[in-house]
Protein backbone atom coordinates (compact mmCIF):
# COMPACT_ATOMS: atom_id res chain seq x y z
CA UNK A 1 0.00 0.00 0.00
CA UNK A 2 1.40 3.42 -0.91
CA UNK A 3 -1.26 5.47 0.85
CA UNK A 4 -3.38 4.42 3.79
CA UNK A 5 -5.77 6.81 5.45
CA UNK A 6 -7.76 5.86 8.53
CA UNK A 7 -10.89 7.57 9.84
CA UNK A 8 -10.03 11.07 8.64
CA UNK A 9 -12.14 13.84 10.14
CA UNK A 10 -11.65 17.50 9.26
CA UNK A 11 -13.68 20.69 9.39
CA UNK A 12 -13.74 24.45 9.73
CA UNK A 13 -15.22 25.84 12.92
CA UNK A 14 -18.27 23.78 13.79
CA UNK A 15 -18.73 22.56 10.25
CA UNK A 16 -17.43 19.09 9.56
CA UNK A 17 -16.29 18.82 5.96
CA UNK A 18 -14.65 15.38 5.87
CA UNK A 19 -16.42 12.69 7.92
CA UNK A 20 -14.60 9.56 8.92
CA UNK A 21 -13.02 8.67 5.58
CA UNK A 22 -10.74 5.67 5.24
CA UNK A 23 -9.13 4.86 1.94
CA UNK A 24 -6.10 3.02 0.66
CA UNK A 25 -4.29 3.34 -2.63
CA UNK A 26 -2.06 0.75 -4.27
CA UNK A 27 1.37 1.51 -5.65
CA UNK A 28 1.15 2.77 -9.22
CA UNK A 29 -2.62 3.09 -9.12
CA UNK A 30 -4.57 6.02 -10.59
CA UNK A 31 -7.39 6.76 -8.18
CA UNK A 32 -10.24 9.06 -9.20
CA UNK A 33 -12.02 11.20 -6.62
CA UNK A 34 -15.51 12.26 -7.69
CA UNK A 35 -18.48 13.88 -6.01
CA UNK A 36 -20.75 16.89 -6.29
CA UNK A 37 -19.53 20.43 -5.51
CA UNK A 38 -18.90 20.81 -1.80
CA UNK A 39 -18.71 17.08 -1.18
CA UNK A 40 -15.23 17.39 0.33
CA UNK A 41 -13.10 16.15 -2.59
CA UNK A 42 -10.57 18.97 -2.45
CA UNK A 43 -10.38 18.84 1.34
CA UNK A 44 -9.80 15.09 1.31
CA UNK A 45 -7.11 15.55 -1.32
CA UNK A 46 -5.30 18.10 0.87
CA UNK A 47 -5.60 15.88 3.94
CA UNK A 48 -4.10 12.96 2.04
CA UNK A 49 -1.27 15.17 0.73
CA UNK A 50 -0.46 16.33 4.27
CA UNK A 51 -1.27 19.97 3.45
CA UNK A 52 -3.89 20.02 6.20
CA UNK A 53 -3.91 18.35 9.59
CA UNK A 54 -6.91 16.12 10.24
CA UNK A 55 -8.86 16.60 13.49
CA UNK A 56 -8.58 12.88 13.97
CA UNK A 57 -7.35 9.94 12.00
CA UNK A 58 -4.06 9.58 10.20
CA UNK A 59 -2.52 9.29 6.77
CA UNK A 60 0.40 7.00 6.06
CA UNK A 61 2.43 7.23 2.89
CA UNK A 62 4.79 4.27 2.46
CA UNK A 63 4.15 3.47 6.12
CA UNK A 64 5.17 6.94 7.41
CA UNK A 65 2.67 9.11 9.26
CA UNK A 66 2.60 12.34 7.19
CA UNK A 67 1.88 14.44 10.29
CA UNK A 68 5.25 13.39 11.73
CA UNK A 69 7.34 14.03 8.63
CA UNK A 70 8.85 17.48 8.01
CA UNK A 71 7.32 19.54 5.20
CA UNK A 72 10.51 19.26 3.21
CA UNK A 73 10.90 15.51 3.58
CA UNK A 74 7.24 15.07 2.64
CA UNK A 75 7.63 17.27 -0.47
CA UNK A 76 10.37 14.93 -1.72
CA UNK A 77 7.80 12.13 -1.88
CA UNK A 78 4.50 13.87 -2.47
CA UNK A 79 3.66 16.43 -5.15
CA UNK A 80 0.45 18.44 -5.32
CA UNK A 81 -0.94 20.12 -8.43
CA UNK A 82 -3.45 22.86 -7.60
CA UNK A 83 -6.20 23.85 -9.98
CA UNK A 84 -5.36 27.00 -11.95
CA UNK A 85 -2.42 28.10 -9.83
CA UNK A 86 -1.59 31.53 -11.24
CA UNK A 87 1.09 34.18 -10.86
CA UNK A 88 1.71 37.76 -12.00
CA UNK A 89 5.45 37.27 -11.86
CA UNK A 90 7.26 37.21 -15.17
CA UNK A 91 8.78 33.72 -14.85
CA UNK A 92 9.87 31.34 -17.60
CA UNK A 93 8.73 27.73 -18.00
CA UNK A 94 12.18 26.60 -16.90
CA UNK A 95 11.98 28.80 -13.76
CA UNK A 96 8.64 27.26 -12.82
CA UNK A 97 9.77 23.67 -13.27
CA UNK A 98 12.94 24.49 -11.32
CA UNK A 99 10.73 25.30 -8.33
CA UNK A 100 9.97 21.59 -8.18
CA UNK A 101 13.55 20.99 -7.05
CA UNK A 102 13.03 23.20 -3.96
CA UNK A 103 12.65 20.32 -1.48
CA UNK A 104 15.79 18.64 -2.83
CA UNK A 105 18.09 21.66 -2.59
CA UNK A 106 19.64 23.13 0.53
CA UNK A 107 19.39 26.89 1.04
CA UNK A 108 22.47 27.95 -0.88
CA UNK A 109 23.38 24.81 -2.83
CA UNK A 110 24.18 25.35 -6.49
CA UNK A 111 22.21 23.96 -9.37
CA UNK A 112 23.43 20.37 -9.82
CA UNK A 113 23.49 18.17 -12.88
CA UNK A 114 20.93 15.92 -11.15
CA UNK A 115 18.61 18.90 -10.72
CA UNK A 116 18.93 19.86 -14.37
CA UNK A 117 18.34 16.24 -15.41
CA UNK A 118 15.17 16.09 -13.30
CA UNK A 119 13.90 19.31 -14.85
CA UNK A 120 14.58 18.36 -18.46
CA UNK A 121 13.15 14.89 -17.82
CA UNK A 122 9.99 16.41 -16.38
CA UNK A 123 9.67 18.79 -19.32
CA UNK A 124 10.12 15.87 -21.70
CA UNK A 125 7.38 13.85 -19.98
CA UNK A 126 4.85 16.61 -20.59
CA UNK A 127 6.28 17.33 -24.05
CA UNK A 128 7.29 20.91 -23.27
CA UNK A 129 11.11 20.74 -23.72
CA UNK A 130 11.07 23.10 -26.66
CA UNK A 131 9.17 25.71 -24.59
CA UNK A 132 11.68 25.84 -21.73
CA UNK A 133 12.60 29.50 -22.26
CA UNK A 134 9.08 30.72 -22.93
CA UNK A 135 7.44 33.21 -20.56
CA UNK A 136 4.73 31.78 -18.30
CA UNK A 137 2.31 34.57 -19.14
CA UNK A 138 2.34 33.62 -22.83
CA UNK A 139 1.23 30.00 -22.28
CA UNK A 140 -2.29 28.73 -22.89
CA UNK A 141 -4.34 27.13 -20.10
CA UNK A 142 -3.47 23.59 -21.20
CA UNK A 143 0.22 24.43 -21.46
CA UNK A 144 0.22 25.99 -17.99
CA UNK A 145 -1.36 22.86 -16.56
CA UNK A 146 1.29 20.73 -18.26
CA UNK A 147 4.03 22.93 -16.83
CA UNK A 148 2.50 22.55 -13.35
CA UNK A 149 2.55 18.80 -13.79
CA UNK A 150 6.16 19.00 -14.99
CA UNK A 151 7.02 20.97 -11.85
CA UNK A 152 5.36 18.27 -9.73
CA UNK A 153 7.34 15.61 -11.62
CA UNK A 154 10.59 17.52 -11.01
CA UNK A 155 9.99 16.89 -7.30
CA UNK A 156 10.66 13.20 -8.15
CA UNK A 157 7.63 12.17 -6.08
CA UNK A 158 6.27 8.69 -5.52
CA UNK A 159 2.75 10.06 -5.15
CA UNK A 160 1.09 12.86 -7.08
CA UNK A 161 -2.15 14.59 -6.13
CA UNK A 162 -4.06 16.59 -8.75
CA UNK A 163 -7.02 18.82 -7.94
CA UNK A 164 -9.26 18.98 -11.00
CA UNK A 165 -6.35 19.21 -13.43
CA UNK A 166 -8.63 19.37 -16.48
CA UNK A 167 -10.73 22.34 -15.40
CA UNK A 168 -11.15 24.95 -18.13
CA UNK A 169 -9.41 22.82 -20.73
CA UNK A 170 -10.84 21.76 -24.07
CA UNK A 171 -11.69 18.08 -24.51
CA UNK A 172 -8.48 17.32 -26.40
CA UNK A 173 -6.32 18.67 -23.59
CA UNK A 174 -8.49 17.03 -20.92
CA UNK A 175 -7.91 13.62 -22.47
CA UNK A 176 -4.27 14.33 -23.18
CA UNK A 177 -3.54 15.33 -19.57
CA UNK A 178 -5.41 12.42 -18.02
CA UNK A 179 -3.76 9.95 -20.38
CA UNK A 180 -0.42 11.38 -19.38
CA UNK A 181 -1.24 11.10 -15.67
CA UNK A 182 -2.47 7.54 -16.07
CA UNK A 183 0.69 6.50 -17.94
CA UNK A 184 3.07 8.03 -15.38
CA UNK A 185 4.85 5.39 -13.29
CA UNK A 186 3.48 6.98 -10.11
CA UNK A 187 0.67 6.58 -7.68
CA UNK A 188 -1.75 9.37 -8.53
CA UNK A 189 -4.94 10.61 -6.93
CA UNK A 190 -7.04 12.87 -9.13
CA UNK A 191 -10.11 14.88 -8.17
CA UNK A 192 -12.35 15.04 -11.24
CA UNK A 193 -15.71 16.38 -12.29
CA UNK A 194 -16.18 14.64 -15.60
CA UNK A 195 -17.54 11.17 -14.79
CA UNK A 196 -16.84 9.70 -18.22
CA UNK A 197 -13.23 10.82 -18.08
CA UNK A 198 -12.97 9.34 -14.60
CA UNK A 199 -14.36 6.08 -15.98
CA UNK A 200 -11.92 6.13 -18.89
CA UNK A 201 -8.69 6.85 -17.05
CA UNK A 202 -8.96 5.75 -13.43
CA UNK A 203 -8.15 2.29 -12.11
CA UNK A 204 -10.47 2.83 -9.18
CA UNK A 205 -12.95 5.52 -8.22
CA UNK A 206 -13.87 6.94 -4.82
CA UNK A 207 -17.22 8.72 -4.55
CA UNK A 208 -17.71 11.44 -1.94
CA UNK A 209 -21.01 12.83 -0.72
CA UNK A 210 -21.45 15.31 2.15
CA UNK A 211 -17.91 14.65 3.34
CA UNK A 212 -18.34 10.90 3.55
CA UNK A 213 -17.04 8.17 1.29
CA UNK A 214 -20.10 6.49 -0.24
CA UNK A 215 -18.53 4.15 -2.77
CA UNK A 216 -15.13 2.86 -3.77
CA UNK A 217 -14.19 0.40 -6.46
CA UNK A 218 -13.58 -0.14 -10.16
CA UNK A 219 -15.39 2.27 -12.52
CA UNK A 220 -17.73 -0.52 -13.63
CA UNK A 221 -18.74 -1.34 -10.05
CA UNK A 222 -19.10 2.24 -8.83
CA UNK A 223 -20.69 4.17 -11.66
CA UNK A 224 -24.17 2.71 -11.58
CA UNK A 225 -27.44 4.38 -12.51
CA UNK A 226 -28.61 4.12 -8.90
CA UNK A 227 -25.46 5.85 -7.55
CA UNK A 228 -25.59 8.62 -10.14
CA UNK A 229 -29.19 9.25 -9.15
CA UNK A 230 -28.60 9.30 -5.40
CA UNK A 231 -25.27 11.17 -5.31
CA UNK A 232 -25.39 13.48 -8.32
CA UNK A 233 -29.20 13.63 -8.64
CA UNK A 234 -29.12 13.04 -12.38
CA UNK A 235 -30.94 10.61 -14.57
CA UNK A 236 -28.47 8.68 -16.69
CA UNK A 237 -28.14 5.40 -18.45
CA UNK A 238 -24.90 3.57 -18.05
CA UNK A 239 -23.97 1.42 -20.99
CA UNK A 240 -22.80 -2.02 -19.99
CA UNK A 241 -19.08 -2.21 -19.55
CA UNK A 242 -17.58 -3.18 -22.90
CA UNK A 243 -14.49 -5.28 -23.51
CA UNK A 244 -12.29 -2.61 -21.91
CA UNK A 245 -14.51 -2.81 -18.81
CA UNK A 246 -15.03 0.94 -18.90
CA UNK A 247 -18.65 2.00 -18.42
CA UNK A 248 -20.01 4.85 -20.48
CA UNK A 249 -22.52 7.29 -19.01
CA UNK A 250 -25.20 9.00 -21.07
CA UNK A 251 -27.15 11.70 -19.26
CA UNK A 252 -30.86 12.05 -19.95
CA UNK A 253 -32.50 15.42 -20.25
CA UNK A 254 -35.52 14.54 -18.10
Amino acid sequence: MTIEAHNLVWGVGRKTIVRDVSVSVQKGETLGLIGPNGSGKSSLLRLLAGLRQPRSGDVRINGQDVARVSRRALARQVAFVQQNAATDTNVSVHDVVKLGRTPHRSALAGWSAADEAAVSNALAQVDMQSRSGQAWQTLSGGERQRVHIARALAQSPIVMFLDEPTNHLDIHHQIEILRMVRDLPLTSIVALHDLNLAAMFCDRIVVMQDGALVACGSPGDVLTEALLHSVFRVAASVSAADASERPHIRFRSE
Binding site: L51, S70, A75, F80, Q82, A85, T87, D95, Q137
Partner: protein, 352 residues
Amino acid sequence: MSVHHSVSTHHHGGSGAGWLALFLVLSLLLLGLVVAIATAIGDYAIGLDTVFLAVTNGLGLTGADISPIEQSVVWDLRLSRALVAALSGAGLAICGAILQALLRNPLAEPFVLGVSAGASTGAVCVIVLGIGGGGLSLSMGAFTGAFSAFALVAILSNGATSGPNHTILAGVAAAQLFNALTSYIVTTSGNAQQARDVMFWLLGSFGGVRWPDFHLLIIVVVLGLGVCLYMARALDAFTFGDEDAAALGVPVARIRLVLFALTAMITATIVSMVGAIGFVGLVVPHAARYVVGPMHLRLLPASAAIGAVFMVLADIASRVIVSQQTVPIGVVTALVGVPFFALILYRSRPQT
Protein backbone atom coordinates in the same frame (compact mmCIF):
# COMPACT_ATOMS: atom_id res chain seq x y z
CA MET B 1 20.29 48.82 -20.42
CA SER B 2 20.99 45.37 -21.76
CA VAL B 3 17.49 44.04 -21.74
CA HIS B 4 18.06 41.38 -24.33
CA HIS B 5 21.06 40.17 -22.47
CA SER B 6 19.13 39.65 -19.24
CA VAL B 7 16.18 38.05 -20.99
CA SER B 8 18.33 35.57 -22.84
CA THR B 9 20.51 34.58 -19.90
CA HIS B 10 18.45 34.56 -16.76
CA HIS B 11 17.04 31.13 -17.49
CA HIS B 12 20.40 29.46 -17.48
CA GLY B 13 22.55 29.11 -14.38
CA GLY B 14 26.10 29.71 -15.62
CA SER B 15 26.00 32.81 -17.78
CA GLY B 16 23.20 34.26 -15.61
CA ALA B 17 25.43 34.13 -12.54
CA GLY B 18 28.18 35.84 -14.56
CA TRP B 19 25.80 38.62 -15.57
CA LEU B 20 24.71 39.07 -11.95
CA ALA B 21 28.32 39.21 -10.75
CA LEU B 22 29.20 41.77 -13.43
CA PHE B 23 26.14 43.80 -12.51
CA LEU B 24 27.00 43.77 -8.80
CA VAL B 25 30.63 44.74 -9.41
CA LEU B 26 29.58 47.61 -11.67
CA SER B 27 26.98 48.69 -9.07
CA LEU B 28 29.58 48.71 -6.31
CA LEU B 29 31.96 50.81 -8.43
CA LEU B 30 29.12 53.18 -9.22
CA LEU B 31 28.18 53.30 -5.54
CA GLY B 32 31.76 54.21 -4.63
CA LEU B 33 31.67 57.00 -7.21
CA VAL B 34 28.32 58.47 -6.10
CA VAL B 35 29.34 58.26 -2.43
CA ALA B 36 32.52 60.19 -3.32
CA ILE B 37 30.46 62.80 -5.18
CA ALA B 38 27.98 63.02 -2.31
CA THR B 39 30.92 63.65 0.00
CA ALA B 40 32.51 66.28 -2.24
CA ILE B 41 29.55 68.50 -3.00
CA GLY B 42 27.64 70.76 -0.69
CA ASP B 43 27.61 74.34 0.45
CA TYR B 44 31.29 73.87 1.19
CA ALA B 45 32.63 72.20 -1.97
CA ILE B 46 35.65 69.96 -1.55
CA GLY B 47 37.75 68.47 -4.35
CA LEU B 48 37.54 64.70 -4.99
CA ASP B 49 41.28 64.33 -4.33
CA THR B 50 40.90 65.93 -0.91
CA VAL B 51 37.90 63.70 -0.25
CA PHE B 52 40.00 60.66 -1.05
CA LEU B 53 42.78 61.74 1.29
CA ALA B 54 40.33 62.67 4.05
CA VAL B 55 38.76 59.20 3.82
CA THR B 56 42.10 57.40 3.90
CA ASN B 57 43.12 59.65 6.80
CA GLY B 58 39.92 58.76 8.60
CA LEU B 59 40.58 55.07 8.06
CA GLY B 60 44.06 55.59 9.46
CA LEU B 61 45.76 54.58 6.20
CA THR B 62 47.41 57.89 5.46
CA GLY B 63 48.45 60.96 7.38
CA ALA B 64 48.02 63.49 4.58
CA ASP B 65 48.14 67.12 5.50
CA ILE B 66 44.70 68.59 4.83
CA SER B 67 42.82 71.25 6.72
CA PRO B 68 41.03 70.00 9.85
CA ILE B 69 37.78 71.58 8.66
CA GLU B 70 37.83 69.71 5.39
CA GLN B 71 38.82 66.54 7.19
CA SER B 72 35.95 66.98 9.62
CA VAL B 73 33.34 67.87 7.02
CA VAL B 74 34.22 64.89 4.84
CA TRP B 75 34.73 62.31 7.54
CA ASP B 76 32.40 63.33 10.36
CA LEU B 77 29.49 64.79 8.41
CA ARG B 78 29.26 63.82 4.78
CA LEU B 79 30.72 60.32 4.58
CA SER B 80 28.60 58.91 7.39
CA ARG B 81 25.58 60.59 5.84
CA ALA B 82 26.27 59.13 2.37
CA LEU B 83 26.87 55.66 3.75
CA VAL B 84 23.69 55.74 5.86
CA ALA B 85 21.82 56.85 2.73
CA ALA B 86 23.25 53.89 0.80
CA LEU B 87 22.34 51.42 3.55
CA SER B 88 18.83 52.87 3.92
CA GLY B 89 18.24 52.50 0.19
CA ALA B 90 19.53 48.93 0.24
CA GLY B 91 17.46 48.03 3.30
CA LEU B 92 14.20 49.50 2.03
CA ALA B 93 14.69 47.84 -1.36
CA ILE B 94 15.24 44.43 0.25
CA CYS B 95 12.12 44.87 2.39
CA GLY B 96 10.11 45.79 -0.71
CA ALA B 97 11.31 42.72 -2.60
CA ILE B 98 10.43 40.43 0.32
CA LEU B 99 6.97 41.89 0.87
CA GLN B 100 6.14 41.81 -2.83
CA ALA B 101 7.00 38.10 -2.82
CA LEU B 102 5.23 37.17 0.42
CA LEU B 103 2.09 39.20 -0.24
CA ARG B 104 2.16 38.40 -3.98
CA ASN B 105 1.29 42.00 -4.66
CA PRO B 106 3.36 44.31 -6.87
CA LEU B 107 2.22 47.31 -4.79
CA ALA B 108 3.59 45.97 -1.52
CA GLU B 109 6.34 47.98 0.14
CA PRO B 110 7.64 48.32 3.70
CA PHE B 111 5.15 51.02 4.58
CA VAL B 112 2.20 48.87 3.58
CA LEU B 113 2.45 47.18 6.98
CA GLY B 114 1.89 50.53 8.69
CA VAL B 115 5.44 50.48 10.01
CA SER B 116 6.32 54.04 8.99
CA ALA B 117 3.05 55.42 10.31
CA GLY B 118 3.73 53.72 13.63
CA ALA B 119 7.26 55.10 13.70
CA SER B 120 5.95 58.61 13.08
CA THR B 121 3.48 58.30 15.93
CA GLY B 122 6.24 57.09 18.22
CA ALA B 123 8.50 59.97 17.19
CA VAL B 124 5.71 62.51 17.64
CA CYS B 125 4.97 61.15 21.11
CA VAL B 126 8.57 61.88 22.02
CA ILE B 127 8.94 65.25 20.24
CA VAL B 128 5.56 66.78 21.05
CA LEU B 129 4.20 64.99 24.11
CA GLY B 130 7.59 64.51 25.70
CA ILE B 131 6.82 60.93 26.63
CA GLY B 132 9.75 59.31 28.38
CA GLY B 133 10.73 62.64 29.97
CA GLY B 134 13.86 63.05 27.85
CA GLY B 135 15.10 59.59 28.80
CA LEU B 136 13.55 58.10 25.68
CA SER B 137 15.36 59.17 22.53
CA LEU B 138 13.56 60.06 19.35
CA SER B 139 14.89 56.92 17.68
CA MET B 140 13.70 54.67 20.47
CA GLY B 141 10.26 56.26 20.27
CA ALA B 142 10.11 55.73 16.52
CA PHE B 143 11.32 52.18 16.87
CA THR B 144 8.72 51.38 19.53
CA GLY B 145 6.00 52.93 17.38
CA ALA B 146 7.07 50.96 14.33
CA PHE B 147 6.96 47.69 16.18
CA SER B 148 3.59 48.54 17.77
CA ALA B 149 2.17 49.03 14.29
CA PHE B 150 3.67 45.76 13.14
CA ALA B 151 2.25 43.96 16.17
CA LEU B 152 -1.20 45.39 15.41
CA VAL B 153 -0.98 44.17 11.80
CA ALA B 154 0.22 40.78 12.99
CA ILE B 155 -2.73 40.46 15.37
CA LEU B 156 -5.29 41.69 12.82
CA SER B 157 -4.02 39.30 10.17
CA ASN B 158 -3.62 36.37 12.51
CA GLY B 159 0.17 36.34 12.42
CA ALA B 160 0.17 37.31 8.71
CA THR B 161 -1.17 33.85 7.91
CA SER B 162 -4.64 34.87 6.80
CA GLY B 163 -3.73 35.57 3.20
CA PRO B 164 -2.05 38.43 1.31
CA ASN B 165 -5.10 40.65 0.84
CA HIS B 166 -6.08 40.34 4.47
CA THR B 167 -2.56 41.30 5.55
CA ILE B 168 -2.50 44.33 3.24
CA LEU B 169 -5.93 45.43 4.54
CA ALA B 170 -4.67 45.10 8.10
CA GLY B 171 -1.62 47.19 7.15
CA VAL B 172 -3.75 49.88 5.55
CA ALA B 173 -5.95 49.99 8.64
CA ALA B 174 -2.92 50.26 10.93
CA ALA B 175 -1.39 53.01 8.75
CA GLN B 176 -4.63 55.00 8.84
CA LEU B 177 -4.92 54.64 12.59
CA PHE B 178 -1.36 55.72 13.31
CA ASN B 179 -1.43 58.57 10.80
CA ALA B 180 -4.60 59.83 12.45
CA LEU B 181 -2.98 59.59 15.87
CA THR B 182 0.06 61.52 14.61
CA SER B 183 -2.10 64.30 13.14
CA TYR B 184 -4.22 64.39 16.27
CA ILE B 185 -1.21 64.80 18.55
CA VAL B 186 0.43 67.42 16.33
CA THR B 187 -2.73 69.54 15.88
CA THR B 188 -3.85 69.41 19.49
CA SER B 189 -0.57 69.63 21.37
CA GLY B 190 2.17 70.88 19.10
CA ASN B 191 3.31 74.44 18.48
CA ALA B 192 4.21 75.69 15.00
CA GLN B 193 7.91 74.90 15.33
CA GLN B 194 7.22 71.35 16.54
CA ALA B 195 4.76 70.81 13.72
CA ARG B 196 7.44 71.83 11.24
CA ASP B 197 10.04 69.57 12.88
CA VAL B 198 7.64 66.69 12.68
CA MET B 199 6.69 67.40 9.07
CA PHE B 200 10.31 67.48 7.99
CA TRP B 201 10.95 64.26 9.83
CA LEU B 202 7.92 62.50 8.32
CA LEU B 203 9.28 63.17 4.83
CA GLY B 204 12.73 61.95 5.71
CA SER B 205 16.08 63.62 6.22
CA PHE B 206 19.66 62.43 6.40
CA GLY B 207 20.63 65.64 8.18
CA GLY B 208 21.16 64.26 11.65
CA VAL B 209 22.92 60.98 10.97
CA ARG B 210 26.41 60.26 12.29
CA TRP B 211 28.74 57.26 12.57
CA PRO B 212 26.85 55.43 15.39
CA ASP B 213 23.79 55.31 13.09
CA PHE B 214 25.93 53.80 10.37
CA HIS B 215 27.33 51.16 12.71
CA LEU B 216 23.88 50.05 13.83
CA LEU B 217 22.41 50.15 10.34
CA ILE B 218 25.18 48.16 8.67
CA ILE B 219 24.68 45.36 11.20
CA VAL B 220 20.91 45.33 10.67
CA VAL B 221 21.04 45.52 6.87
CA VAL B 222 23.86 43.02 6.34
CA LEU B 223 22.29 40.59 8.80
CA GLY B 224 18.90 41.09 7.13
CA LEU B 225 20.29 40.52 3.67
CA GLY B 226 22.05 37.39 4.90
CA VAL B 227 18.87 35.91 6.37
CA CYS B 228 16.90 36.79 3.24
CA LEU B 229 19.46 35.20 0.94
CA TYR B 230 19.31 32.10 3.10
CA MET B 231 15.54 32.04 2.57
CA ALA B 232 15.65 33.14 -1.08
CA ARG B 233 14.70 29.69 -2.41
CA ALA B 234 11.72 29.59 -0.09
CA LEU B 235 10.64 33.03 -1.35
CA ASP B 236 10.75 31.72 -4.93
CA ALA B 237 8.40 28.93 -3.87
CA PHE B 238 5.73 31.54 -3.04
CA THR B 239 5.38 32.34 -6.76
CA PHE B 240 2.10 30.41 -6.99
CA GLY B 241 0.85 31.14 -3.50
CA ASP B 242 1.06 29.85 0.05
CA GLU B 243 -0.41 26.41 -0.48
CA ASP B 244 1.85 25.81 -3.42
CA ALA B 245 4.85 26.82 -1.33
CA ALA B 246 3.73 24.36 1.35
CA ALA B 247 3.43 21.62 -1.27
CA LEU B 248 7.02 22.38 -2.29
CA GLY B 249 8.16 21.66 1.25
CA VAL B 250 8.43 25.23 2.55
CA PRO B 251 7.40 25.77 6.21
CA VAL B 252 5.11 28.63 5.19
CA ALA B 253 4.00 29.97 8.58
CA ARG B 254 7.53 30.08 9.97
CA ILE B 255 9.09 31.72 6.90
CA ARG B 256 6.32 34.33 6.80
CA LEU B 257 6.69 35.27 10.43
CA VAL B 258 10.50 35.44 10.30
CA LEU B 259 10.54 37.53 7.14
CA PHE B 260 7.76 39.88 8.26
CA ALA B 261 9.55 40.45 11.57
CA LEU B 262 12.78 41.04 9.66
CA THR B 263 11.24 43.63 7.34
CA ALA B 264 9.63 45.34 10.34
CA MET B 265 13.00 45.48 12.08
CA ILE B 266 14.92 46.82 9.08
CA THR B 267 12.21 49.39 8.28
CA ALA B 268 11.84 50.47 11.90
CA THR B 269 15.60 50.95 12.23
CA ILE B 270 15.77 53.02 9.04
CA VAL B 271 12.66 55.08 9.82
CA SER B 272 13.86 55.80 13.33
CA MET B 273 17.10 57.27 11.91
CA VAL B 274 16.09 59.10 8.78
CA GLY B 275 12.29 59.25 8.79
CA ALA B 276 9.80 57.83 6.36
CA ILE B 277 11.25 57.64 2.86
CA GLY B 278 8.62 56.33 0.50
CA PHE B 279 8.78 54.83 -2.94
CA VAL B 280 12.25 53.26 -2.79
CA GLY B 281 10.92 49.96 -1.44
CA LEU B 282 8.22 49.94 -4.09
CA VAL B 283 10.20 50.94 -7.18
CA VAL B 284 13.64 49.45 -6.76
CA PRO B 285 12.60 45.75 -6.72
CA HIS B 286 10.69 46.30 -9.96
CA ALA B 287 13.74 47.88 -11.56
CA ALA B 288 15.91 45.02 -10.28
CA ARG B 289 13.51 42.39 -11.63
CA TYR B 290 13.78 44.07 -14.97
CA VAL B 291 17.54 43.63 -14.92
CA VAL B 292 18.15 40.23 -13.25
CA GLY B 293 14.77 38.45 -13.41
CA PRO B 294 12.34 37.44 -10.65
CA MET B 295 14.32 34.74 -8.80
CA HIS B 296 15.26 35.94 -5.33
CA LEU B 297 18.82 34.69 -5.00
CA ARG B 298 19.59 37.19 -7.77
CA LEU B 299 16.86 39.73 -7.11
CA LEU B 300 17.77 40.49 -3.48
CA PRO B 301 21.44 41.49 -4.01
CA ALA B 302 20.51 43.40 -7.16
CA SER B 303 17.73 45.26 -5.30
CA ALA B 304 20.13 46.14 -2.49
CA ALA B 305 22.71 47.47 -4.99
CA ILE B 306 20.22 49.53 -6.99
CA GLY B 307 18.54 50.82 -3.82
CA ALA B 308 21.87 51.98 -2.39
CA VAL B 309 22.91 53.87 -5.54
CA PHE B 310 19.44 55.36 -5.97
CA MET B 311 19.28 56.68 -2.42
CA VAL B 312 22.72 58.31 -2.52
CA LEU B 313 21.78 59.98 -5.80
CA ALA B 314 18.51 61.14 -4.25
CA ASP B 315 20.44 62.56 -1.30
CA ILE B 316 22.75 64.45 -3.67
CA ALA B 317 19.73 65.80 -5.53
CA SER B 318 18.06 66.85 -2.28
CA ARG B 319 21.06 69.05 -1.49
CA VAL B 320 21.61 70.64 -4.90
CA ILE B 321 18.07 71.23 -6.25
CA VAL B 322 17.61 74.33 -4.10
CA SER B 323 20.78 76.17 -3.12
CA GLN B 324 21.37 76.81 0.59
CA GLN B 325 18.49 74.50 1.42
CA THR B 326 17.83 70.75 1.72
CA VAL B 327 14.68 69.35 0.19
CA PRO B 328 13.18 66.48 2.23
CA ILE B 329 14.54 63.22 0.86
CA GLY B 330 11.08 61.64 0.56
CA VAL B 331 10.12 64.41 -1.85
CA VAL B 332 13.15 63.71 -4.02
CA THR B 333 12.70 59.91 -4.10
CA ALA B 334 9.18 60.42 -5.37
CA LEU B 335 10.10 63.18 -7.85
CA VAL B 336 13.02 61.20 -9.27
CA GLY B 337 11.45 57.80 -8.79
CA VAL B 338 8.08 58.29 -10.45
CA PRO B 339 9.34 59.21 -13.95
CA PHE B 340 11.84 56.37 -13.79
CA PHE B 341 9.13 53.99 -12.64
CA ALA B 342 6.80 55.21 -15.39
CA LEU B 343 9.47 54.36 -17.92
CA ILE B 344 9.82 50.80 -16.61
CA LEU B 345 6.08 50.39 -16.41
CA TYR B 346 5.72 51.61 -19.98
CA ARG B 347 8.45 49.39 -21.38
CA SER B 348 7.26 46.26 -19.58
CA ARG B 349 3.55 46.74 -20.38
CA PRO B 350 1.84 43.55 -21.52
CA GLN B 351 1.98 43.18 -25.28
CA THR B 352 -1.52 42.39 -26.42
